[in-house]
Symmetry: D2
Subunit: 366 residues, 4 copies
């Protein structure tokens, strides 16, 4: 990964600020011959789009994606795909009072210190708006998966809001799209709605934990030691705004297990090896096992809140700051499609990297 | 990061297997003129070295590092530094019975599936022995820090073994070197010793959580969006064998906080901005704030245990496997100096990357 | 360099096809605080622009560049700069007859073989039109040089058209802008005009040699061994469409020299070392000496000619093909600003890379 | 390419100095299952080895390569291959008088200026001795080609020494190994021997042009626009010590051709497209055509000569310098196996990159 690019072969370079004329990304390394059109990408952007309900920012961005290059007569040509999303709802005036002051929890102060200049309008480059470009790239990745590894299914959902986790016994994949939180536990979703309403009205916000599961991932993806599948996933998820932790499989809880408990025992099934459990989250030694790849990440609470917080400005003066504007009380909600997109991009990248390195040949068992 | 290389400018390429003639790394991008000798690196290797007490593997590897290039008359020349550690205690016979069988929790099965061949002796490339090369590279990184950012101090320690965490109220930096667990809580260390003895005698093992803190890190290191300091730390730590999760600052716990709680409020101190708390772990928007950079990672329990576990072999036959050999009951212990080394490498890398991008100039406050 | 990206720190990713809606590039790694506006870039594009005289293609592309990101209040912010040029004069119908046939000398056949699909309109991605993006990026590079190394001057010019070289004794920098060939020898330029007219009327084309000189380049840029300044220049120039050779300093002629002749002897001048000659082209061991950096490259004749040439089509049928359309009889002419742009980008990249590696400190002499 | 690494997927990192304990390289990205042993590599090193006749340096380096990792039971495992060559004939005393003085034509002055320190013994890192590591890596690349693209044949030879070119009409591949110059024209070789004797006795040296031809390269290798096969070859060859120019196909001579002459016309042969000429050197639009890939490079004369040349030392004092020691009168001779090695590495790298991007599928013709 370099400054604004991720991926080894399937390489995504994002660009753009919250309040500039447009933002987008170049997706390079896409295999030729993949069917692709704007309407393959738009639905994923629509999932991430703000303004859909009272729990996400009321900014009204249509977030319409345009393909500017790399597709000809409906299929990819193997050349770079440029995706552009114009910024249409730029109410810059909302941000005037933070031009000189540093919002606590935001990148304002670090951008200022590092660069000496920052586009303060809506966070500029550090705005969560950048994740629209990730989601667009994820849409391309999903189309590649359809062609190259159609068994792969990627699903993200929220498993914890604030201190309130879901009940895994009530996990219902069908519920995920039925509530504003992408929550697989309908009962929890109802509680969260009330909880979040309360937080919003009290000028507060809250964090969340997102889980992204990829099933049908073939065994053999990932590469020791510094291009491990889990290492790349960790980098990808941690690069999302507001993410503070990444877990694979049992994650932090693995620390509390014994070796006897943690061993994912192996039996021989009709189609090859089968594991009796999945503490590993589908990855051993950095390489996929064929089990579901399970990744979770924690999103901190929205830093933009209407409760005044102590801070300073560029002159070094101390002040109390309320962050006005239209902000999500739980940015974790919109991080769900972003996490899915990053998972899709990392898996495609490793599919391509693997066929470079091994040609896709696999060691036999049985 | 590519297959066996990490870093943007300070680039480390590791090589070698557990039971080959040697292992090591090439450290490229080291600035010229840095004093460096074997005895700057050896002490860090000695910290990681197995066989030091009953809680780590009884393999007796002297782990003596040799500098083969890149240093002339006691200082670095700016050319690649080759560090080689010869493998001397190679009791390959211990591993004969796992040549065809896949140890649960190990990379045996995934290496076999991906590559069709694997060096089964001691795990080959997937052995924790590779981390010796990381620690050696970390020794070089620390010398660079001494010259370029002498304020930086890096300290790793274990904060949880199995389900037993330390009591932060008893945190004593002086205790870290006084027990076999690099534990900053002397009381906890005593409990852990008894606990681990019990586990070892019952042919079991356990996981751990390691924390690495870097103080004195200048503000402004890291780069949005895909070379964020936290993103690179996540990749670096997740690439260590057996690591299943990485946290920055409050990590997973950030999900349970509200925005009011999570805001690290800012005041003006005599030497510039001061934060009233450090939920962020010293990183905002991927860029260091000047506060301590705090990173934690969870290490799963040692998979090599003497308790039989169900598995299969390359023929697809099912069997029960005991992993004989000389294994750490808690690999987390030896992960402490490894985590420190990765932190040092990432910080140096970002120091160099930052002076490329900004020339080291900083935006003024006050 | 990866598929569509060049540079280590100053990284340029180009995208777009000849007849798509737009093309452009993302320029990443630009230091913050550099003054930049569209009108800093546009003049360089205007130099490259087709349709300026009868010796270049009569396509009328205004080639207006828009900055979509990375600049705020007139200066760069350190975030990626997106430059977009809309394609306005897309007469796709001209290209209908080459949709299935492979134009000799063009990438038609290799794109078809590699990708199975190609955007045949105007060469698609392989069109010389892509070089507009390079020139735009070069405009950014020049602005960075103005701030970081204001002594650097970059000048490109044509030193040979077909078999007709300039007379170095008549070299006049002032003449370069005074003729349609960027030729520093006014007499040669007059001859070339007649020669090229004749070629054009006989439905033929011709090659050229371009020289790019950079003066004022500080000593110490470049890095052994695979990021040598000359190695990066060679890659950069060879990546330009139709380029078949790259020379540094005496280039191919160095083969015919003896060691006594070739030694650039060194004397001590008032401001440091001075060389009595510059056979090396300003680069020793991959690192700049402080002398002018001299790079030449050969451009093959335009492959699109009105003289029928034998070829085949995708069905394997043999045919004779005339390449209609509006083509330069000597593409070398428009390669001049492209070569300058690549030189500027490579030098800026090495300035940044050098300050990463050495901090810009220099060994003393005297 | 980064400081000391080249390649996208097949990545070679070289390390070591002329007079350090050892030098070598890490070859990463090698596919698993490739048969490999020291004696697959040693013959190529023996071809490059000094001291074989009076026309190459009389240093007696056995240049014995050891494989330290990445190979198990005779085949590659997909993990990094470490190749080490110990330096045994280190007569450092020969170099004492150049510790402070800068040899004209050498990297002494630029290393000093850039790094402030240099290993002056034998040129240190800038010694042609580094090319031994390249040749070793090339041996690995050739073994990969044997498995993945057995049709590929790579042959290097000298086509010009000083001003004396071969007569292409006398080209005899069988002659190449029969003279000390790898010259395909036996008559020229005889003349060259006398010429070089004379130069050597008069304390002089001379340059050369090397051609490397790769036949049997499948169509479709290379990738627009900045990973073009020719762009990567240019970088690879220009990174070799003393190389000043790189040509593909007709190279510089392409400038003098007309479009009618330069068109490599295409006919349909029994096995697919056939070209009637190969001005392009087997590459169109950066992608291989299936024709022989032809690359030439010019090597400047050996800078280490016994004729005194004017120079300065670190104190800025002017002096006349004779470079004693054991030096090749024409370093171009030993560049032949180096050029072959770089060609092999670049082709393997692009084979792997291509199967990542396209899966090796090819567009049909006919």
């Amino acid at each position: 990964m370099s400054f604004n690019t991720y991926g080894h072969i399937f390489r995504v370079t994002t660009w753009g600020e919250s309040h500039g004329p447009a933002l987008g990304c170049t997706v390079d390394g896409v295999p030729p011959g993949i069917p692709l059109a704007e309407n393959d990408i738009q639905p994923w952007l629509d999932r991430r789009k703000p303004g859909q309900n009272k729990f996400t920012t009321q900014r009204k961005e249509p977030d319409e994606v345009r393909i500017l290059s790399g597709v000809f007569e409906g299929v990819t040509t193997g050349t770079p795909i440029q995706l552009m999303i114009e910024n249409t709802d730029q109410r810059s005036k909302d941000y005037g009072d933070i031009a000189q002051a540093f919002r606590p929890g935001h990148a304002d102060i670090t951008y200022h210190q590092k660069y000496g200049i920052r586009d303060y309008r809506g966070g500029g480059r550090s705005s969560a708006r950048e994740t629209a470009a990730r989601v667009a790239a994820g849409g391309v990745a999903r189309k590649v998966l359809e062609s190259l590894a159609p068994s792969v299914r990627i699903s993200g959902y929220m498993v914890q809001m604030g201190a309130k986790g879901i009940d895994r016994a009530r996990f219902d994949a069908g519920a995920i799209d039925q509530n504003p939180f992408w929550c697989p536990d309908a009962t929890a979703a109802t509680e969260w709605a009330a909880y979040l309403d309360e937080l919003r009205l009290s000028h507060n916000s809250v964090g969340a934990v997102i889980e992204v599961a990829a099933t049908g991932v073939p065994a053999g993806l990932g590469a020791p030691l510094y291009a491990k599948l889990d290492s790349d996933l960790a980098a990808a998820m941690m690069s999302i705004n507001a993410v503070k932790a990444v877990e694979i499989g049992d994650g932090m809880a693995a620390a509390a297990l014994t070796g006897v408990e943690n061993a994912d025992e192996i039996r021989m099934g009709p189609n090859g090896p089968e594991f009796l459990s999945n503490h590993a989250g589908g990855i051993l030694g950095g390489i996929s096992t064929g089990q579901p790849v399970i990744c979770r990440f924690a999103v901190k609470p929205t830093s933009s809140i209407l409760t005044p917080r102590q801070t300073i400005n560029t002159k070094g003066e101390e002040l109390d700051l309320i962050t006005k504007g239209r902000h999500d009380p739980c940015v974790g909600i919109r991080a769900v499609p972003v996490g899915e997109a990053m998972m899709a991009a990392v898996i495609v990248d490793h599919l391509l990297l693997d066929r470079a390195h091994t040609g896709g040949v696999r060691g036999r068992i049985g």
